[in-house]
Amino acid sequence: MSEELKVPTMAEYMAEGKQPEILFWVGSAGSYDDRAKKITKAFVKILHKAKVDFAVLGTEESNTGDVAKRAGNEFLFQMQAMMNIEVLNAYEVKRIVTCDPHSFNCIKNEYPSLGGNYDVVHHTQYIKELMSSGRLTLEGDTYKGKRITFHDPCYLGRANSEYDAPRDVLKKTNANLVEMKRHRSTALCCGAGGAQMFKEPEKGNMDINVLRTEDALETKPDIIATGCPYCNTMMTDGVKAKEKESEISVLDIAELIANS
């Protein structure tokens, strides 16, 4: 992307006395991780294309506390949650969209009892919404006939029973959608959840992401589609471990849509 992205903040909206349609919750991975930043930018590109009035919190956003909670640190989680809720409530945020299923699950399910009540949407759900309301249309045939297999993120799928939105969006690309043997509610975790992303795995005979990559390779895909920045890292590493990176790309649904 050569042009600089226009990314307005809530503070700027506030200064103009306006409210955006949605708050885009970028998340820690989306803000700092080099691979995840590409997903963030792709999603912003989609938002611009669909002429969505959006804003981010920018430097006022802090980690949701999700990973601390799953590691067992309820204190840190609730501190983070309450700080974020104070900011979100001060801006009177109503609707939040995020590319990270962990942030999605955490804000949607665990913030309400701490005083944070918002309509929280995963970006695949939001893209589907933009498509069905006609605000976003795909012109190109970039992926026509390509074999794409979708890896369900645990915190979107099993955790929140959303299996269809990512698939519905992918179908719009005219790609050839192929399913792994373990998919939807029986999908295998990529291995990053529950704070595993930040530590070495316990002793075993294999890494979880490699096992999951084997599931994906069985479908002989051209592209492995993901809907979570952590899954993306894990699957990318898995594909590298299998030395298939020249044949198979691992792309977030936001990237797939932004490119088509």
Binding site: E4, V7, S28, A71, E74, N109, E110, G191, K199, R212
Partner: protein, 437 residues
């Protein structure tokens, strides 16, 4: 003299039901050692879950072979047990096949005939189950936690069912009046010739099978408390109390909320005297290190687990050779709870510290840290058990009471505390991505 069989029957029945009641009371007492938990919400959905998952076996059929066989045994077991009602009435009042006196012959014949067919189907299914466990050696029945008693327990249950079904068929085959009826002996008519035609011998075999059948059922009933087979009763309350929230929603600890609110309140006086009555309050323990720290639903979960291992066979950590097995988490919880219960019984109703706990003596840190919180175990469980909630509560204890998280996780948490991200990046750089190429 003629009432001796009736009295004997009454005594056996009373003993069987009495001992069972005693153990159920113990089970309820043990579950109540856990923390109370409010499950008074969503009554309609809870009843529907019970009807669908426990009664309707909706999750069993996700694995079609085991699911189908299980339904056969389950339906057979429930329906054939209608026959027990007749046996009890006959036993208590000295009647013989009271059903024949209250029902038209054809209806009675139809009922018993269906029972006989079901009995054969149950026998076939039980044999397949036995083969799956002992000959085909399915991986999920071979994990290390299944060695010893759990393996024997599984087989004993199958043997019980074989014996009970055979006794039922023999009882019918050797009952000359029933055979002469010509209704309902769909299966037993083929077995009848095996026993000859001496009326005295037949009568003796029939009586022996009848008595052994009812005694066997009572023994089986009492075996439940000591076995994984408790699920035939507890699946119902367990699916009722199972979570009705999205699986990703983990509970927020209230004790923590209170402290965090106090910390964040600029008007809070850190030196203020404790409010009245507060001095008697024991400071809340965060997370769980023993069964008493878990809640009552988690303990009910442990008693309900029938060790089928579907959870473990779907667990990404277990599939890749890590020590974690969600089934073992449930089995350990039950074993420790039983140990605590026995301790209470031995010490006149009070628990005496035995220097042991669930954490460390049963479940290791290594198992707990291997979990990805992916919810595959929760999704798989055919009776709505949640091993993940126990894992999380024990992690909470490790982190908040013992500061015993792995080093890398401590670094990650320090980063979040200091700069609001799990990596050591500056909070002020959070929007830099928008300006980068």
């Amino acid at each position: 003299m003629q009432y001796i069989p009736n009295i004997l029957f009454l005594i056996i029945l009373a003993l069987g039901i009495g001992y069972f009641t005693l153990n159920i009371k113990k089970l309820i007492r043990n579950i109540k050692l856990g923390k109370e938990v409010d499950a008074s919400d969503n009554k309609g959905e809870r009843w529907r879950n019970m009807a669908r998952i426990a009664l309707g076996q909706s999750k069993m059929v996700k694995r079609p072979i085991a699911g189908f066989l299980h339904i056969v045994v389950y339906v057979g077991f429930i329906i054939i047990n209608i026959e027990v009602l007749e046996i009890i009435i006959d036993g208590l009042f000295g009647t013989h096949r009271i059903g024949l006196k209250v029902l038209p012959e054809s209806v009675y014949g139809f009922l018993i005939g269906s029972f006989e067919i079901l009995a054969v189907l149950v026998l076939v299914s039980v044999v397949v189950f036995w083969l799956r466990r002992n000959v085909i050696k399915l991986k999920r029945f071979l994990s290390s936690e299944m060695r010893g008693w759990p393996k024997n327990d599984g087989n004993i249950i199958l043997y019980f069912e074989v014996v009970l079904m055979c006794l039922f068929l023999v009882m019918n085959a050797t009952d000359t009046t029933f055979q002469n009826l010509g209704h309902g002996n769909i299966i037993s008519q083929f077995i009848a010739p095996w026993f000859g035609d001496n009326p005295d011998t037949l009568h003796m075999i029939e009586r022996t099978a009848w008595w052994l059948h009812i005694v066997g059922i009572l023994i089986f009933l009492n075996y439940l408390y000591f076995s994984k087979h408790l699920h035939i009763l507890l699946a119902f309350p367990n699916t009722y109390y199972g979570s009705v929230q999205p699986k990703g929603k983990f509970n927020n600890l209230e004790a923590v909320t209170n402290e965090v609110k106090l910390m964040m309140d600029p008007n809070a006086d850190p030196f203020a005297a404790a409010p009245e009555g507060a001095e008697e309050e024991v400071p809340a323990k965060f997370g769980a290190s023993d069964v008493m720290d878990l809640n009552q639903i988690q303990l009910l979960n442990a008693y309900t687990c029938t060790e089928c291992g579907r959870c473990t066979s779907a667990c990404p950590a277990n599939l890749t050779g890590k020590k974690l097995s969600p089934r073992k988490i449930m089995m350990d919880t039950r074993d420790r709870l039983e140990e605590v219960g026995k301790n209470i019984d031995a010490n006149g109703g009070e628990f005496k510290d035995d220097g042991k706990q669930l954490l460390g003596d049963y479940i290791t840190n290594e198992e707990l840290w291997a979990c990805t919180t992916c919810n595959a175990c929760v999704e798989e469980c055919p009776v709505s058990i949640n091993p993940l909630s126990i894992i999380l509560d024990m992690r909470r204890y490790l982190v908040m009471e013992q500061s015993a998280a792995p080093m890398e996780l401590n670094n990650m948490m320090t980063n979040i505390e200091n700069n609001g991200a799990p990596w050591p990046y500056n909070q002020m750089d959070r929007l830099n991505w928008a300006k980068e190429e």
